[in-house]
Amino acid sequence: MPVYTVSHVDNVRICVVMVGLPARGKSLMSQKIVRYLNWLSISSKSFNVGSYRRRQKQQPTAEFFDENNEEGLDTRNRALEMALKDMLTWFNEKNGTVGVLDASNTTRERRKKILELLRLNKIEPMFLESYCDNNEIIMNNILDVKTTSPDYQGVNPDFAIKDFLKRITKYEQVYEPLNMSTDSDLTFIKLINVNAQIIINKIQTYLESRIVYFIMNLHIKPRTIWLSRHGESSYNLEGKIGGDSDLSERGFKYAKNLPELVSRYIPNNENLEVWTSTLKRTQQTAQYLDYPKKTWKALDELDAGVCDGLTYEEIQKLYPEDFKMRDENKFEYRYRGGESYRDVIIRLEPIIMNLENQENILLITHQAVLRCLYAYFMNVPQEESPWMKIPLHTLIKLDPRAFDTLVTKIKADIPAVSTYKEKGTTKLGEGDDAKFNIAGDIVT
């Protein structure tokens, strides 16, 4: 069941058809839409036409994209057909709800063809155009593509930039942007220079409005997100959950170390904002960081209700049935008088939207909340996310890029207890099930 029960999902099938020149952040947005919807348990998948093209033609030069290059045109058309075919199969066989067709779709004729095919298959198209003539934004995207696109892997960077710019001009020659005089019948959203102006036309379902709402919160500038748990707390030492305890001595040490740790990876001239929960241990952890801070109630730890302040042994003794139920379905289990992971995800919605809106943010919060946030950024399935291992005294750095998110784990050299509990035991400590490790390289 979706987290935000989008009503009658099974009756609605939507295809977000991307429109726009290369380097307008289309792939980044496609990835984000898919990630967000999957996080809400609405099945969603992106189909990148470029990668279908690469199966036939790897690393072509700009000439390949010329309107008069018949071989190129032929290959590109085939790629679109393959992507559409796979998408329709996915809709029908996997019961897909929202497909994203990640391609430039720059001409009106092409969009018309796609629309007809989708309607024939009872899928509603929603066009999403990223229109951009701001050079700074375009150059940023080009740099990102140059380093991450398979089209330019191993290619001389200077050549890559030149060739890519040339490729863009090839697309520009045939580009017909969406506009209100010719496309007023279509359901579309048009972003002009990210969000200097946004035009929304004929939104027809709640689910579409929800996708548009998310898109409006996006920006495509490069940015970094940092995640950290609070430093080790006295409750952690005693194996108790919840509460509002102070940091332990080692926890305070982590807090003291944090500014240096952060500054090593973030140049001084860059902006950073620190977000904490309203609980003491996160604020104590943030106290030496000389950056603007915000306190969010929505970042408070999962409320363990009647079990707040107990150890897992005590919970097992006092509420044996609950203890078992939680291990069986940790995502859905709601503590008596408290919350479940699903509840936490619902209250994190404003945080996610605000996060997408902002630039560099360091979040200092709690184990369960971080699991949910990490699951969002890394597309971790619902049933796995409550079991993710997120150790204390470790800074997690996330760099979202067009095709993936780069994770770096920075371990502070300060020992801390483990608060990880494996299924079926009351003992704490990280087992060796690699499935629940978070991604990325460890730096110490």
């Binding site: 929304i200 409006m216 509002d244 305890s245 603007p292 306190t295 409320d303």
Partner: protein, 538 residues
């Protein structure tokens, strides 16, 4: 630390402790478990919507007495224009903060703008309803109210002024309204103000913008533009319901209203100020243009609402499922008594609608052969036309069967999982006395906060409120009539949304079996009516 300690403008915050000395915890091993709940206790302070008397929090008896004094007897009244106290907790609020403000979104003034008959008042009221439901402290200031009260005071019979004339009087009225707006922000912990006025001239808009910006309030303009003649015609014919035309002959009122539009149209300047943040809301949501938005989350949430907002012609009707004491998890087919009940419900409602619409409009709906395997068109298209009629039921077998009497008439019926009754959990089937005996602690907590408290494995009303958000927006998308057949617990929450009830009232609203509740949309406030189903026990 409350959310308001660090405002967006204050830059760096003070470190909590002394930079040089690290303090280990004072008393190892003795920490208070979390005592602060996500909710400040809604019954701990007085509320403006209750009697002036302070409601005491402690003993169950007092609470019971005070609850009865609450607005229950008067819940047919839409409270959207009522002041709420600063510790008011909204039905779908996700958590409460000490500052009373949410999302670090600062203070926002939404200034409406547009010619008469563009649905500005309806938009102000429905937007305020949604924001307040989410927990944002919001209030509407209708400039028209200020004009009316000014005229009354000065004994002027004129109902309307040309924006280019009567400059002094106009200024006086506008200033009074703006000073009230400023006071709401400064003194009443207000987060959002909706300023409902025509704002015809660019100069006035720029002045208003700089005036509020000086006070650290962000200004968002929403301009309502209607190019669809049909919509315009409908709005004009609704004009006689405006407070300006109390005791007027409807025809004369419409005439007068049209003359107003004629005066203003030539001087009205459409919004095109690139430096301002504005939303053009065209033909009630058909097309939306957002310009220069730099205010973040809250504005996006507003656009989200606008995408789902429509001009209303119909009503929302609520009816109970057939009366039974079934177990939450059981799902038997409809019994004979239920079938009888639904026949009566069906007849009562359709007669009522036909009467009010003047003809048997629903009989003109073509009957489509509904095949099981055929994919239904997306739900979002439901109810878009003003003569549409849609029925929602839960996914329980008996309500699905019951709704077939509507399906046979060609009326669209939809099953919605969110309409399932509030899960009673461990206390299912127990009387109050039994609960008190079996779960004394829980019982006490429930008395203190019946809206948020959950018994073991149960859902709370708050859970329902969060769960039905998509349905609320789909309801907002509809122009025509909708009948919602659901359990009383679910109706309470929907009703709470439409009539702006607080979370203190919702658990106590009453919807007897033998009544259909009608909520009629009206630009200024919704109207609740009860229609008796003859021959059914309450």
């Amino acid at each position: 630390m409350p959310e308001n300690i660090v405002t967006e403008s204050s830059g760096r915050s003070e470190p909590l402790g002394d930079d040089t000395s690290i303090q280990p915890p004072q008393q190892p091993g003795n920490y208070m478990a979390r005592v602060k709940s996500r909710w400040s206790n809604p019954f701990s302070e007085s509320h403006n919507d209750a009697d002036d008397k302070k409601i005491s929090g402690g003993s169950g008896e007092n609470i019971e007495r005070d609850l009865k004094k609450r607005r229950i007897s008067n819940s047919d009244f839409d409270a959207i224009h009522q002041e709420v106290s600063s510790d008011f907790i909204s039905p779908a609020q996700l958590y409460s903060t000490e500052s009373g403000r949410l999302f670090h979104a600062g203070q926002l003034c939404i200034a409406l703008c547009g010619l008469p008959a563009r649905g500005k008042t309806h938009l102000s009221v429905s937007l305020c309803r949604y924001l307040r439901w989410l927990g944002v402290k919001a209030k509407i200031f209708h400039l028209g109210d200020y004009r009316r009260s000014y005229c009354e005071k000065k004994n002027i019979s004129q109902t309307f002024w040309n924006p280019l004339e009567n400059a002094n009087e106009r200024e006086e009225i506008v200033n009074e309204c703006i000073s009230d707006i400023a006071s709401y922000f400064e003194n009443d912990k207000g987060q959002v103000v909706i300023y409902d006025a025509i704002n015809a001239l660019s100069k006035d808009r720029l002045d208003f913008h700089s005036l509020l910006t000086e006070k650290d309030v962000k200004v968002l303009f929403i301009e309502s533009i209607v190019t669809d003649e049909r919509l315009l015609h409908k709005n004009v014919s609704d004009a006689s319901k405006s407070p300006d035309y109390e005791n007027w002959d409807p025809e004369k009122a419409t005439e007068n209203y049209i003359s107003r539009i004629k005066i203003i149209s030539p001087i009205y300047q459409e919004m095109n100020e690139p430096e301002l943040t504005y939303i053009k809301f065209i033909n009630f949501g058909e097309n939306i243009v957002i310009n220069n938005d730099k205010f973040g989350f809250l504005v996006k949430k507003i656009v989200f609402f606008l995408m789902n907002s429509r001009i209303k012609s119909g009503s929302v009707f609520f009816a109970r499922c057939s009366n039974n004491k079934l177990k939450f998890k059981s799902d038997p087919p409809l019994d004979e008594k239920g079938s009888e009940y639904f026949k009566k419900l069906n007849k009562t409602l359709l007669d009522y609608i036909s009467k009010s619409k003047g003809d048997n409009f629903y009989q003109n709906i073509p009957i489509k052969s509904a095949s099981k395997n055929e994919k239904q068109p997306p739900i979002g298209f439901d109810g878009q036309h003003e003569n549409d009629f849609v029925v929602w039921t839960s996914t329980r077998l008996r309500t699905i069967q019951a709704s077939q009497s509507f399906t046979k008439l060609g009326i669209k019926t939809r099953e919605r999982t969110q309409l399932t009754q509030k899960n009673p959990g461990d206390v299912e089937g127990l009387t109050d006395e039994e609960i008190k005996e079996k779960y004394p602690e829980d019982y006490e907590k429930h008395q203190q906060d019946p809206y948020h408290h959950r018994y073991g494995r149960a859902e709370s009303y708050h859970d329902l409120a969060v769960k039905i958000e998509p349905l609320i927006l789909e309801m907002e998308r509809m122009s025509g009539d909708i009948l919602i057949i659901a359990d009383e617990t679910v109706i309470r929450v929907f009703y709470g949304y439409l009539m702006a009830c607080s979370c203190n009232e919702i658990p106590f609203l009453e919807f007897p079996q033998n009544e259909i509740v009608q909520i009629q949309y009206n630009a200024y406030s919704n109207i609740a009516k009860r229609i008796t189903i003859e021959g059914v026990d309450p």
